[in-house]
C-alpha cells in the first residue's frame, strides 16, 4: 500500500515542468521533498490533485493501486483519499469554514445520509482546539482576510477533519510563527500512523526537526534526483543545493 508516482511528465502550456518523476511513499511513512524554487514541487502536488491548468503527458500515480488519472474530477481523487495542503490556499468568499468543511464531509457520505450536525461541531471544535484556532473562525469565509499563518493552520484543520489516506503538505511551515510551527507540527504528528502516508514539501530543516521524516528526497528540474534519510536534510541546510547538482553531473 503506497502512493506511487511513476515516470510522471506534466506540462503547463507547452512547457514541461515534471520530467519523469518517480517517488513512492509507503503507507505509514513520512517523506520530505526539498528543492530549489521553481523545481516543480508545487506542480507535483497540483498535478496529482487534478488541477485543470496542467496536462499529464506520460506517467501515472497510483493511490493504493488505484490510478488517480483515471478519475476525471479532482473531487473524486480527494474522496479516494488524497489531500493537498496548498502553499497558497485559495480564498473562497462567502463560504464559511464551518460550511465548507461540512460540505466536504457530507460529500463523503452515501447518498441520502445526513451529517449529524451536533457531532460535526463537536469534532470540529476538538480539532480547532488542538490547533489553537479560535472558534470564531468557524463563521469566517474560507481564507478570506486570513493572515499567512492562519491560512496554513486552516489547511491543517481541514486535513485533520477530512482524514485523508495520503496528504501532501506544500510549505505548510512558511508563514507560521515559532509557536504556530510547533502547534501545527504537533497536529501533523498526531496524524502520523500506519494508516496514512505524508509527503512534506519544505525548504527548511526546522520543520523537519518537529516532523521527523523517514525519507528525504531532493527535487531538481522536475525529477527526484537523490533520496536519503533525515541527515540528507541537514546536509542540504548546511551546504545548499550546488553539491547535489555537481554530484548528478558526475554520475551522468
Amino acid at each position: 500500500m503506497s502512493l506511487k508516482i511513476e515516470n510522471l511528465h506534466a506540462n503547463i502550456g507547452d512547457r514541461e515542468i515534471l520530467k519523469g518523476l518517480n517517488l513512492e511513499i509507503p503507507k505509514g511513512e513520512v517523506h520530505a521533498i526539498m528543492g530549489k524554487n521553481g523545481s516543480g514541487k508545487s506542480t507535483l502536488a497540483k498535478v496529482m490533485a487534478g488541477h485543470p491548468d496542467y496536462e499529464v503527458s506520460i506517467g501515472q500515480v497510483l493511490l493504493d493501486g488505484l490510478n488517480l488519472f483515471e478519475m476525471e474530477e479532482p473531487d473524486q481523487r480527494a474522496r479516494t483519499g488524497l489531500f493537498v495542503a496548498f502553499q497558497y490556499p485559495m480564498e473562497v468568499p462567502g463560504v464559511t469554514i464551518a460550511n465548507f468543511i461540512r460540505a466536504a464531509l457530507q460529500a463523503r457520505l452515501p447518498e441520502g445520509e445526513e451529517l449529524d450536525a451536533v457531532e460535526y461541531y463537536h469534532h470540529l471544535y476538538e480539532k480547532m482546539d488542538m490547533l489553537k484556532i479560535d472558534r470564531k473562525f468557524t463563521s469566517r469565509a474560507v481564507n478570506e482576510g486570513f493572515s499567512g499563518g492562519e491560512k496554513k493552520r486552516c489547511e491543517i484543520l481541514q486535513m485533520a477533519m477530512l482524514n485523508p489516506v495520503y496528504a501532501v503538505l506544500d510549505e505548510t511551515d512558511s508563514g507560521l510563527d515559532i509557536d504556530a510551527l510547533r502547534i501545527v507540527s504537533e497536529g501533523v504528528n498526531a496524524m502520523r500512523g500506519p494508516e496514512r502516508g505524508l509527503l512534506v514539501i519544505t525548504h527548511y530543516q526546522r520543520l523537519l526537526d518537529y516532523i521527523v521524516p523517514d525519507v528525504v528526497h531532493v527535487m531538481v528540474d522536475g525529477r527526484i534526483v537523490m533520496s536519503g534519510d533525515k541527515t540528507l536534510a541537514h546536509k542540504l541546510e548546511a551546504e545548499g543545493y550546488d553539491w547535489v547538482e555537481k554530484e548528478i553531473l558526475q554520475q551522468a
Binding site: E73, P74, A78, V84, M90, V92, G94, F100, A103, Y121
Partner: protein, 468 residues
C-alpha cells in the same frame, strides 16, 4: 445549524405539461377582437373594455425599448401569442373542486405537504384564471379581501376602480400597456385599516400552454396602519417556442401601512419575463419588494417605490441568477417625493457560463426635499470567465440636505477556487452552489423559511444543470 426541511423539488419540473381542456381560448394574435373576446368571456364592465382598448392603442403606438434594453426583445412575435386562456371563469372554491390534473401539477412542482396545507388559504392561478381560490376563514373574518383580479373588479368596484392603473399608468412602458390590454388573473387584495395579517398570502401560478402569454394583474391596497405579506412563486414548463410573461403589480400602502411583496421565480429558459412592479407609499408607510429571479430567457424587472408621504420607506432586495444563455436585467426604482423618506436597494446577481446580469437602478430625490436617504448596494458574482455583468446606476439627488450612498462590487469564482473546493472532495456543482449560497446568504435570510429553503434548492438545481 440548519434544521430546515428538504423540499425535494425535481429538476424535471420545468419540462412537463399536462393536456388541459381549454374551454375558453382567445386564439392566437392580438387585435380589438381579441379584447372583445376576453371582455365577453370575463363579462368585463364597459369601463374595463374601454380601458383595455385604450391600452391596446398605446401598446401599438409605443416602440420597443430596444434603445436601452436588450435587442432580444425584437424576437418576440406578438402575433404568435395566445393572449387569453381560461380553465373556466369561476374560481374553484374548495380543494375537492380542484381538478385532478391541477393537483397533479402541484405535486410535480414539489410543493411539500407542509405547504399544501398552506394552500387552504392560497390563491393559486392555473393558467389565466384562478383554478383554486379560497380565503382562509380567519383572514376573511378580519375583513381582508383576497380574490382574483376579475372577481375584485366585479365585486369590489369602488375600491378597485379607485386604485387600478393609478400606480402604474397604462402607458408607463410598452409592456404595462400590453398587460393593461389583455390582463387576466392575478390577485386583488384589500387590507382594512389597522389589520395586521399574520399569515403570508400566497399565490402559485404557472404557464401551461405553448405560445401562451400570461398577463396577470395584481393590485394590493393596505389601508391605514395595516400590514400584509404577499408571496408569489412561479415555475414554468419548458417549450420549444418562446413564452411571454408580462405582469403588472401595483401596491398601495396608505398612511402607516406595511406591505412586503415576495417573489421567487424559476422560469424555464425560453420565457420572456417582462414585469412592471411599483408601489405607492403614503406617509410613514413601508413597501418592501423581495425579489428572486432564476431562469428565463430575458427578465426585465425593476420593482419601484414612490415615496409620496413624509417618512415613507421603500426597499428592494433582489437576487438574480443568470444561467447559460440567460439575461437577467433587473434593478430598482426609488422615487423620493416627500421629506424624510428613506430607501434601500440591495441587489445581488450571479452570472454563470454565458449568462448575463444587468443592474439598472434609478434613485430620484427632488431639490426641494429635506432629510431623504438612499442606500444602494449592488454586488455581482461571476462564475467562469464568459459571464458578464453591467451596472447602470442612475442616481439623481438634488438638494443639499439629502444623502445617498452607493456601493458596488464584482467578485469572481475562478476555476482555481472551484479546484480548491473540489480538492476537498466537494463536487463541482456543490462547490458552485456553496459559493452562490454563500454570496446570497444574507439576503436569503430575509425570505420566509419555506421560500429560503426552496431558493437554496433551486440554486443547487441550477448549478447541477450548469455543470451538466
Amino acid at each position: 445549524m440548519e434544521t430546515k426541511p428538504d423540499l425535494n423539488i425535481d429538476r424535471s419540473i420545468g419540462d412537463f405539461h399536462y393536456d388541459v381542456d381549454y374551454e375558453f381560448d382567445a386564439g392566437i394574435g392580438l387585435s380589438e377582437k381579441t379584447i372583445d373576446y376576453i371582455c365577453d368571456v370575463k363579462k368585463d364592465p364597459d369601463w374595463i373594455r374601454e380601458f383595455r382598448k385604450e391600452a391596446l392603442r398605446k401598446f401599438n403606438s409605443m416602440p420597443m425599448p430596444t434603445n436601452w434594453a436588450s435587442h432580444d426583445l425584437d424576437n418576440i412575435v406578438f402575433q404568435n401569442i395566445r393572449y387569453y386562456l381560461s380553465q373556466g371563469t369561476e374560481p374553484k372554491r374548495s380543494w375537492d373542486d380542484v381538478p385532478e390534473d391541477v393537483k397533479r401539477t402541484f405535486e410535480r412542482l414539489g410543493i411539500p405537504e407542509q405547504e399544501r396545507k398552506f394552500l387552504a388559504g392560497v390563491e393559486a392561478q392555473f393558467d389565466s384564471e384562478a383554478a383554486y381560490s379560497n380565503i382562509k376563514a380567519a383572514v376573511g373574518e378580519q375583513g381582508v379581501i383576497f380574490v382574483g383580479s376579475t372577481e375584485g373588479l366585479h365585486k369590489h368596484p369602488e375600491i378597485f376602480k379607485k386604485w387600478f392603473g393609478k400606480v402604474i399608468p397604462t402607458g408607463d412602458n410598452k409592456f404595462s400597456a400590453l398587460n393593461s390590454a389583455v390582463f387576466s388573473g392575478g390577485s386583488f387584495i384589500y387590507i382594512p385599516p389597522g389589520v395586521k395579517v399574520k399569515h403570508p398570502l400566497q399565490a402559485y401560478f404557472r404557464i401551461n400552454a405553448e405560445n401562451f402569454g400570461q398577463f396577470e394583474r395584481t393590485l394590493i391596497i393596505a389601508d391605514e396602519g395595516s400590514e400584509v405579506m404577499y408571496m408569489e412563486g412561479c415555475t414554468a414548463p419548458k417549450f420549444e417556442t418562446s413564452t411571454l410573461h408580462s405582469a403588472v403589480v401595483e401596491l398601495v400602502a396608505l398612511k402607516g401601512a406595511k406591505i412586503q411583496y415576495i417573489t421567487v421565480q424559476n422560469w424555464s429558459a425560453n420565457v420572456f419575463n417582462l414585469v412592471t412592479k411599483r408601489g405607492l407609499a403614503h406617509e410613514e408607510a413601508e413597501i418592501k419588494w423581495i425579489d428572486c429571479n432564476i431562469g428565463s430567457r430575458l427578465t426585465m424587472k425593476y420593482p419601484g417605490v414612490i415615496m409620496k408621504g413624509r417618512k415613507a420607506r421603500g426597499e428592494v432586495i433582489s437576487i438574480a441568477l443568470a444561467g447559460d444563455g440567460q439575461h437577467q436585467d433587473t434593478g430598482a426604482k426609488m422615487v423620493h417625493a416627500a421629506d424624510e423618506t428613506t430607501s434601500n436597494i440591495v441587489s445581488k446577481s450571479i452570472s454563470l457560463g454565458s449568462g448575463r446580469s444587468t443592474y439598472r437602478g434609478l434613485v430620484q430625490i427632488g431639490r426641494h426635499l429635506k432629510g431623504c436617504k438612499n442606500n444602494t448596494e449592488c454586488d455581482a458574482l461571476l462564475i467562469n470567465t464568459e459571464s458578464r455583468t453591467d451596472t447602470y446606476p442612475a442616481i439623481t439627488v438634488r438638494g443639499k440636505e439629502n444623502a445617498c450612498q452607493h456601493e458596488a462590487s464584482v467578485s469572481k469564482i475562478s476555476a482555481e477556487q472551484i479546484f480548491y473546493m473540489q480538492q476537498r472532495g466537494i463536487s463541482k456543482a456543490a462547490a458552485m452552489s456553496l459559493a452562490v449560497n454563500g454570496f446570497v446568504n444574507d439576503l436569503v435570510q430575509q425570505f420566509p423559511m419555506e421560500y429560503s429553503v426552496e431558493l437554496k434548492r433551486l440554486i443547487d438545481l441550477e448549478m447541477e444543470g450548469s455543470v451538466g
